[in-house]
Symmetry: C2
Subunit: 321 residues, 2 copies
């Protein structure tokens, strides 16, 4: 949670002159998003989110992210919709940074999701995959196997500070996953970061998805495995078969998995657990002095890596046999 | 800027059941307030701010703060208005902390205020002093002379890290100010922290005041001297006579200063500069590891202390002679 850039009323008012958003009534920095600075704007036309893209986001990727939000909105998926300025642009510059305005999405994220929420998540994830099918842009997944190798090399010298023998454990997993990583599964646009705080509900209804800044082109079932790790374990770290079954049933009610996808689930879930363990590990070992963000504990995902390593049959996840 | 306490949707929904605020549509942690955790709530009844009081605020003071907001709102001053729950209470508990909901105030704070904003500030400050006259509760100013002595003792051993000889300079000022501090000026409720980020404007109109968590019972002219320091210096630290004159003219158009108040302005401004220098100094020297808040530089207020020390005649501030 952070606001990395201070935006003055004068800067913002000048920026908004290019938009047709009416009178500015208030703006507040919001404590969400670890990559960018986010502000909630209230104008006479409604509520909007202004994002300033900080250096961890590659400016060359912004047309993909912003274009994708426009594409998915047009397909009826409830996600933030980019707001064009009077010149028709969705990307501008504010305080020396790329900046965009998107519509504000009502809804509340659920810290402790239940099986029914996992079912709703599965459905919307499948709808997202279908809606993205004809999105013309591509973006490679920078956090797939090659990316994990870079993170692993970065973390190895101090990984033992987090768990004894961790560098060797990562190396073994990386060799195993590289050898077995599936390369020809059905693929397209994936969200790649669909944790509970990126999924809004109004009452029991899933009302929208946010934070598409890890979206990329990769295997659909890999996206599903990320959700399985993020939604289907207890706070204490125990796998929850009922939630996993609900997630997969929800997904398959919209887009049935192929045999190859079903068989690949254990290796995909093992890989996605490694991916989040590695980014958290690197962040954990590199907290800058004066940091505004508390890093997440990598050990949560170390436990998940170890769990999936033991799974030999996808039926463990609640897939019909 | 910070959110110190994570509040889950489930916790919040349970808390809101005691209120008549309709359906919860969204809530976001906002990056404002260094003492408390603040959330912006959108409900079917409108926008509200939920504050969780963290340990730096004394729970015994909350009835004063919340009572004052209610009193000033009833007098027509535009400030956050406490929302009562169905039992008529304005203070509850959420996530183990005292918590209150107040109305959301439209408006934007101005980082670089001009003389006309200072004039508007002076007017509203005088209105605040008049509106508080019949508020029945009292709260001593914990950050007056005795409080400065405590802060000075705390900071002295490491004050030289900020400026050579600073501990001795503070000690000299403290002795001087203690001897000359005026004790019988007109007094009542003061805001005591009316920096630009606590004053909202809509266009050129001052639209409201927020953040009353330093409010206390003290000399009105001391409050004015705090504004003089916070509003009437350039970013580079130079005193701006035009802004100061506008501030004082605005104030006196509503509540003329007495002769004693006018004569006391230099010592009051010197003291209020010392007060903010000291709290910033202590914060600066005591940034905890993993801190979520970047401390403000105490040297800004050291420069202001040195300026007021040289002022012998209040006409320097733009008071009519």
């Amino acid at each position: 949670m952070a606001v990395y850039t201070d935006v003055s009323a004068a800067d913002l008012t000048a920026f908004l002159e290019a938009y047709d958003l009416g009178t500015l009534l208030s703006f507040k920095g919001i404590a969400e998003g670890v990559e960018n600075s986010n502000f909630l704007l209230q104008t006479s036309r409604g509520a909007f989110i202004l994002t300033l893209y900080e250096k961890r986001v590659d400016a060359e990727d912004l047309p993909f992210f912003i274009g994708l939000l426009g594409h998915l909105s047009a397909k009826g998926l409830n996600c933030p919709q980019p707001v064009r300025n009077r010149s028709g642009d969705v990307l501008g510059r504010l305080c020396g940074r790329p900046a965009a305005i998107v519509t504000f999405l009502d809804g509340i994220w659920i810290a402790n999701p239940q099986a029914r929420h996992c079912q709703a998540l599965g459905e919307v994830l499948a709808r997202l995959h279908l809606a993205g099918a004809d999105f013309p842009m591509r973006r490679a997944n920078a956090l797939s196997v090659d990316g994990w190798k870079r993170l692993s090399a970065q973390a190895a010298p101090r990984a033992h500070e987090v768990a004894a023998g961790l560098a060797a454990e990562i190396e073994t997993d990386l060799a195993d996953l590289s050898a077995r990583w599936p390369r020809d599964l059905p693929a397209g646009v994936i969200h790649a970061d669909l944790f509970p705080d990126n999924v809004f509900f109004l009452g029991e209804t899933l009302s929208g998805l946010i934070d598409f800044y890890f979206a990329c082109t990769d295997a659909f079932a890999y996206d599903l495995s990320i959700c399985l790790n993020a939604w289907c374990f207890s706070a204490a770290g125990a796998f929850d078969a009922a939630k996993s079954e609900a997630l997969l049933a929800g997904y398959q009610s919209i887009r049935p998995l192929t045999l190859a996808e079903r068989q690949a689930l254990p290796v995909l879930a093992h890989g996605s657990a490694l991916r989040f363990m590695l980014t958290r590990l690197v962040d954990w070992l590199n907290v800058p002095p004066g940091a505004l963000v508390r890093p997440k504990d990598p050990r949560e995902y170390l436990g998940k890596m170890r769990f999936h390593r033991t799974v030999e049959d996808s039926r463990i996840y609640g897939l019909p046999g």
